[in-house]
């Protein structure tokens, strides 16, 4: 029974667990070179022996990762850098990811082709290998003691087996090597995201989601992400530049416009989400009608774009239309904000929701019948011409450095510039006197005003700034879509961006962070775009995902410094608790 109470004891008692894990992972890896099915009817062509395709590649990557982590656990020289944090929890996570992808592929083939007879021996070998890997990896010791309880249930012991300690101090590397690591990491990141956007059939995308979710978690547990974020903090400018260079490189990897369009829309969505994050994440103003400001920017740009459908016979150059869009959004922000920001909390949310709908309905009614003819009502403003900036026509293909850049690629790069602007505004405003005032207002408005903060003024600045940034994104959106209609700016709908999805992107990703809304927006856009067959269940799944997230990770996927401290109080105050927990576990051991 003594072994039972020892917290690092593995979940399953398996002799030579590491050797079996290695063998299992190697088996799965080998199976990806075999044929998994007999017909090319299943997308990705899994019939060729010796050449993995589609889902096999994903399984291969997962198995290779599992193998590397396992071998690192042997203490093999040259692989130790892989697991500065947890040694065995990344193995378990990677193994679970492989099993997930493998199992999904297995089931997808069987269901799609009608029966397990369609599976070749290779698929069986892969599945057995994945099962062996997972089972054997549960035989590896835990990385961390269970501190919460002395008599853990099997579920608690399983969850604990996936936990890992934070990595220690890294070895000093020469700065060129560290910079190289950053560049390599962003290169890999670009490749992974590009791969996700480029997935051509839903099965591959699901497999991609499974393996990348587990693999990224495994990298976190292994401590590699902590190492990387330490490096990016050290070389902040280089890291930011590398991130944007990686993002800018995306259109150069594309041959058609098909996926670039998705990428442009992701960028628009993410930029607006980041603007909303100033209002919600920093200033704590729950704005449920934010998409209206995107609409204001888009409609303004459409009306001054020179399209024949516009009520105004003007054609502004691009810079002027961006400025006009931003200015009109700013005015709307102030006009809507000035009366509503006197309200707090839920009341503000309801009123902004109302104003968001007022915008949509008003635009739908300015059609010459119910009101003056400005916006063509529900028909919207079509035929918005492509942008032309200093003779550079965004609608044409251009050859840059030997690469063909299509129309959407041009817009992608333009939108990326807009996003850089928003990121810059967010980070600079956030860490300044005004940013602190926003957070103070969010925390306790009465105390903040008693500290000399003019609450109304500061909130109005946040609201107007958010509106302006959304307006800028809207001006580009109008030209990308070439049509604006009122129905694009609803509160909730199946296609992002709409107010509900924007808010969800912020909350899902992590309030008050920069990368959070970007990741949240990417996921929220890609999943519906890639999994069209889920259309009917999309909002259901979306609701479920939010509930699960609130239960298990209330700070969002990416936690900012404050939220991390708020929800997981580490390194502070509980130092005493930790030693206490250590002694209690010690005494139980002695007692047993």
């Amino acid at each position: 029974m003594t072994t039972q109470t020892n917290p690092t004891t593995p979940l399953l008692a398996i002799p030579a667990a590491r050797a079996i894990t290695t063998a299992g992972a190697a088996l799965t890896l080998a199976s990806t070179f075999l044929a998994w099915t007999w017909t090319a009817e299943f997308p990705g062509d899994l019939t060729v022996t010796g050449y993995p395709g589609g889902l096999q590649v994903l399984t291969l990557v997962g198995a290779a990762l599992t193998l590397l982590f396992t071998l690192s656990g042997y203490g093999i020289k040259g692989l130790g850098w892989l697991t500065p944090g947890g040694t065995n929890s990344p193995v378990r996570l990677a193994a679970l990811g492989v099993l997930g992808t493998m199992g999904f592929t297995f089931a997808a083939i069987a269901i799609k082709l009608g029966g397990i007879v369609n599976l070749e021996p290779g698929a069986w070998i892969g599945l057995v290998g994945a099962l062996i890997t997972v089972a054997a990896s549960l035989g590896l010791p835990h990385d961390q003691n269970i501190t919460d309880t002395t008599t853990p249930t099997p579920l608690e012991r399983f969850l604990n087996s996936l936990r890992a300690p934070a990595p220690g101090r890294p070895k000093e590397l020469p700065s060129w090597a560290e910079i190289l690591i950053i560049v390599a990491a962003f290169g890999i990141g670009l490749y992974v995201i590009t791969y996700g956007i480029d997935t051509e059939y839903p099965e591959l995308f699901v497999g991609y989601l499974i393996i990348s979710g587990f693999a990224v978690t495994a990298l976190f547990k292994a401590g590699l992400m902590a190492r990387l974020s330490a490096l990016t903090t050290k070389y902040r400018t280089i890291a930011v530049a590398a991130a944007f260079v990686a993002a800018a490189a995306f259109p150069f990897t594309q041959t058609t416009d098909q996926f670039t369009l998705i990428a442009v829309n992701i960028l628009i969505f993410a930029t607006v989400a980041l603007g909303l994050n100033i209002v919600v994440g920093l200033a704590g103003l729950l704005d449920l009608g934010y998409v209206a400001f995107l609409g204001v920017g888009a409609y303004t740009a459409a009306l001054v774009s020179g399209t024949t459908a516009s009520a105004f016979d003007v054609q502004f150059p691009f810079w002027a239309s961006v400025l006009t869009g931003a200015a009109v959004s700013l005015i709307f922000g102030v006009v809507i904000g000035a009366p509503t920001l006197r309200l707090r909390g839920d009341y503000l949310a309801i009123v902004t929701l109302g104003f968001g709908e007022i915008f949509r309905i008003a635009v739908g009614n300015l059609d010459g019948v119910s009101g003056p003819q400005i916006t063509n009502g529900p028909n919207g403003v079509p035929n918005i011409p492509d942008l032309n900036f200093l003779g550079y026509d965004f609608g044409e293909s251009h050859t840059v450095l030997g690469f063909e850049l299509g129309s959407y690629a041009n817009y992608y790069l333009l939108m990326l510039l807009a996003m850089i602007l928003v990121v810059l505004v967010f980070s600079r405003a956030g860490s300044s006197r005004i940013g602190r005032a926003w957070v103070a207002i969010r925390e306790d408005e009465t105390a903040a005003t008693a500290m000399g903060i003019n609450g109304f003024r500061v909130k109005l600045i946040a609201f107007a700034l958010g509106a302006t940034l959304a307006g800028i994104a809207g001006t580009v959106q109008a030209h990308v879509q070439s049509t604006v209609v009122p129905e694009m700016y609803v509160f909730a709908g199946p296609v992002p961006p709409n107010s509900a999805f924007l808010l969800a992107a912020v909350i899902l990703g992590g309030m008050g962070t920069i990368s959070g809304p970007l990741i949240g927006a990417t996921l929220l856009y890609m999943i519906p775009a890639k999994l069209q067959f889920l259309q009917d269940y999309q909002l259901l799944g979306f609701g479920l995902a939010l509930i699960l997230l609130m239960r298990f990770r209330p700070e969002g996927l990416i936690a900012n410094r404050r939220a991390k401290l708020e929800y997981h109080e580490t390194d502070q105050l509980d130092a005493a608790d930790k030693t206490l927990a250590g002694t209690t576990s010690g005494t139980t051991k002695a007692g047993a």
Binding site: R433, T449, M451, I461, E569
Partner: protein, 292 residues
């Protein structure tokens, strides 16, 4: 400290002058015609039973409430009825129930207190000119000084919510001091503190007075008040009952009556009172003996 106590009578310029402050909520008069002055370098105590209107009076002084009648002057000018303008004018306060920015760090809490004394707006934050950097550096330096003053310099990066109770009280004072006030209003600064912490707070308030900041303090701990204050005012049911030196107020029968009530007809006689006192004295000496 010595020099301060001797200079107090000479530099008796009025910092705060509240005259005829009345606050009505519908039919309820929470504060009725209260006059109170606080002179430079003075620590004034405000006592009274629960519900006497002390905090309401504070809220009238700091602009959270607009008094129904009466005027509040700070260094001769009438205070505007907005809390942030009052703070800008030079009155800072703490709250009875701690109201820190719980999810900000200790340092950030103090930096927020600097808000009125800096004026870098959104444009300056976005453009990050040399002026911005200088102002930020100065704010950080001042905030760190204040944290050192209250002894929390080692916890600058902790979240305010994670601080122990006594430290939270201190941090609230530091945050109020960050706005460079001429008058500090403390609403029950030692509520919930043990005797040692109360002693430390007492020292802290004396140190603040020595920085040239007048202090107006609400407190229920009489020993604390009578040790600390140069003058004490007692509010009862919204009205100022008595004002004077600690000795005068302590001796005033009306104050005792307000706190303890007036004796009944068959109230315990002098003999019983003496008996109880003797028993109390005995028990205190015994506990003291035990602790030593």
């Amino acid at each position: 400290m010595n020099t301060m106590t001797t200079t107090t009578p000479e530099t008796a310029t009025t910092v705060l002058d509240a005259s005829g402050v009345t606050m009505r909520f519908g039919g309820l008069t929470a504060v009725r015609n209260v006059d109170l002055t606080v002179n430079a370098g003075e620590i004034v105590g405000l006592i009274g039973p629960n519900g006497a209107g002390k905090t309401t009076f504070f809220n009238c002084l700091t602009g959270l409430y607009v008094p129904t009648e009466g005027k509040v002057r700070y260094k001769g000018t009438v205070l505007p009825p907005k809390p942030h303008l009052v703070t800008q004018a030079g009155i800072a306060r703490t709250f009875q129930n701690i109201r820190l920015f719980a999810n900000m760090t200790v340092l950030e809490n103090v930096l927020v207190g600097r808000h009125t004394r800096t004026k870098e707006g959104l444009w300056s934050a976005l453009l990050r000119g040399p002026g911005f950097k200088k102002a930020e550096a100065a704010s950080h330096e001042r905030a760190k000084e204040l944290l050192e003053f209250i002894g929390l310099q080692d916890k600058a990066d902790h979240l305010a919510r994670n601080l122990p109770y006594g430290d939270q009280r201190k941090l609230e004072i530091a945050r109020a001091l960050a706005s460079d006030p001429g008058l500090l209003l403390l609403d029950e600064p030692t509520a919930g503190m043990n005797p040692q912490e109360t002693r430390v707070t007492e020292e802290l308030i004396f140190a603040i007075r020595d920085m040239g900041i007048a202090v107006l303090v609400i407190e229920h701990d009489m020993r604390f008040i009578f040790n600390l204050c140069d003058r004490v005012a007692c509010l009862v049911q919204g009205e100022k009952l008595v004002e004077g030196t600690p000795g005068d107020v302590q001796a005033d029968e009306r104050v005792v009556a307000a706190y303890l009530g007036t004796p009944f007809e068959d109230a315990p006689g002098a003999d019983e009172v003496a008996e109880v006192e003797a028993a109390e004295a005995h028990s205190t000496t015994r506990t003291e003996g035990e602790t030593q």
